[in-house]
């Protein structure tokens, strides 16, 4: 049993479980599923700076901060007790492309050759960690939600603006991964 749990979970197990988060949060207390708003609540709580967008009672959304703290703890638990000892299996085509950029280490889900403290001293690392993170925070709020809020919660509630947003997430991702990221990875 534990051996089975330690293996990577297939999509048909993980996907439905992620989908069930929607009714779970609604039934627990009328909360619509979404994660990127937590970043806004952190701004509202820590650095509101008199900006109207951050002038609201963030304590009314504190459930969201409990939820993301839980995600962090879940990550710790999964890494401590449920982790898969084998390297990450990736498509050979991707592995061939990445080896051209010197990315050859598949020990972790997050490539240490791109996302680590020493990498922060390199232009590539700064662009990917600082620049990429900024785009995630700016873009999700501009779009009014992220993968969880729009692609999962919004689509579950059949909201067409969420379908527009989801298509734009994917379009942006395809453009970046195929047309721009290769040049960043080459640095």
């Amino acid at each position: 049993m534990l051996d089975w749990i330690r293996q990577p979970w297939p999509w048909y197990v993980a996907g439905p479980l992620i989908g069930l988060t929607v009714p779970l949060l609604l039934l627990l207390g009328n909360k619509s599923f979404g994660i990127s708003s937590s970043l806004r609540h952190i701004c509202a709580a820590c650095v509101p700076a008199g900006i109207p967008f951050f002038r609201y009672d963030w304590k009314k959304e504190i459930w969201n901060l409990f939820f993301v703290t839980g995600i962090l703890l879940g990550g710790i638990l999964a890494a401590q007790w449920l982790s898969n000892p084998s390297p990450v299996v990736v498509n050979p085509k991707l592995a061939a492309e990445l080896s051209g950029y010197g990315i050859t280490n598949y020990d972790g889900l997050i490539p240490q050759q791109l996302f680590s403290w020493p990498q922060l001293m390199t232009p590539r690392g700064i662009i990917m960690m600082v620049g990429g993170g900024f785009l995630v925070g700016f873009g999700t709020r501009y779009a009014g939600g992220c993968t969880s809020g729009h692609a999962i919660m919004g689509l579950s509630n059949l909201q067409w603006p969420s379908l527009v947003a989801t298509c734009c997430f994917m379009a942006g991702g395809f453009i970046m991964a195929n047309l721009v990221l290769p040049y960043i990875l080459k640095m």
Partner: protein
């Protein structure tokens, strides 16, 4: 002027629709839900930069399967909740508000897409990645918080 609720729900999908004022201790259940969610994110490898690269290069069905089946289960669940006027465990009627379209969903959506492909993470996975020990991702998370702050600062000057 705007009510506090209007400001809070502006540009946000996830809003607390509950009108009950419950003590802080009662929020622990959302922490437990988060723990389960975090474990699913890690074990399904959707927090992996490699899986996101495969998705955007059409080299694997995994992410499409995860998101697609999550949406199908979500649609059925929300339909059932509406069909039976389901109530929360505290007996409150469940509310879901329609979302208004604005151009931010296009511009912001594309910008987030760029960031998603670079970092290999959306906001949820950022927290899970840090949990798995990739502590340098704290920098990515702080930068994402900064991005959200800059959006809040510039909001009125941006096309919506």
């Amino acid at each position: 002027m705007n009510t506090e609720y209007e400001v809070r729900s502006e540009h946000a999908m996830c809003v607390n629709h509950s009108e009950l004022d419950k003590p802080l201790v009662s929020k622990i259940k959302y922490g437990v839900a988060g723990i389960l969610f975090g474990i699913i994110l890690v074990k399904s490898e959707v927090i992996s930069w490699f899986r996101i690269q495969e998705m955007f290069r059409l080299q694997s069905f995994h992410m499409y399967g995860v998101i697609g089946s999550a949406v199908i289960v979500g649609i059925i669940s929300v339909w059932l909740i509406k069909r039976f006027n389901a109530k929360t465990i505290d007996g409150e009627l469940i509310k879901l508000e329609p979302k208004k379209f604005n151009k931010g969903q296009i511009y912001g959506g594309l910008i987030f897409g760029f960031g998603w492909a670079i970092t290999g993470a959306c906001p949820g996975p950022l927290f899970a990645q840090i949990g798995t020990g990739a502590l340098a991702v704290c920098v990515t998370l702080l930068s994402a918080i900064a991005g959200t702050w800059v959006y809040g600062r510039m909001k009125d000057k941006l096309p919506h």
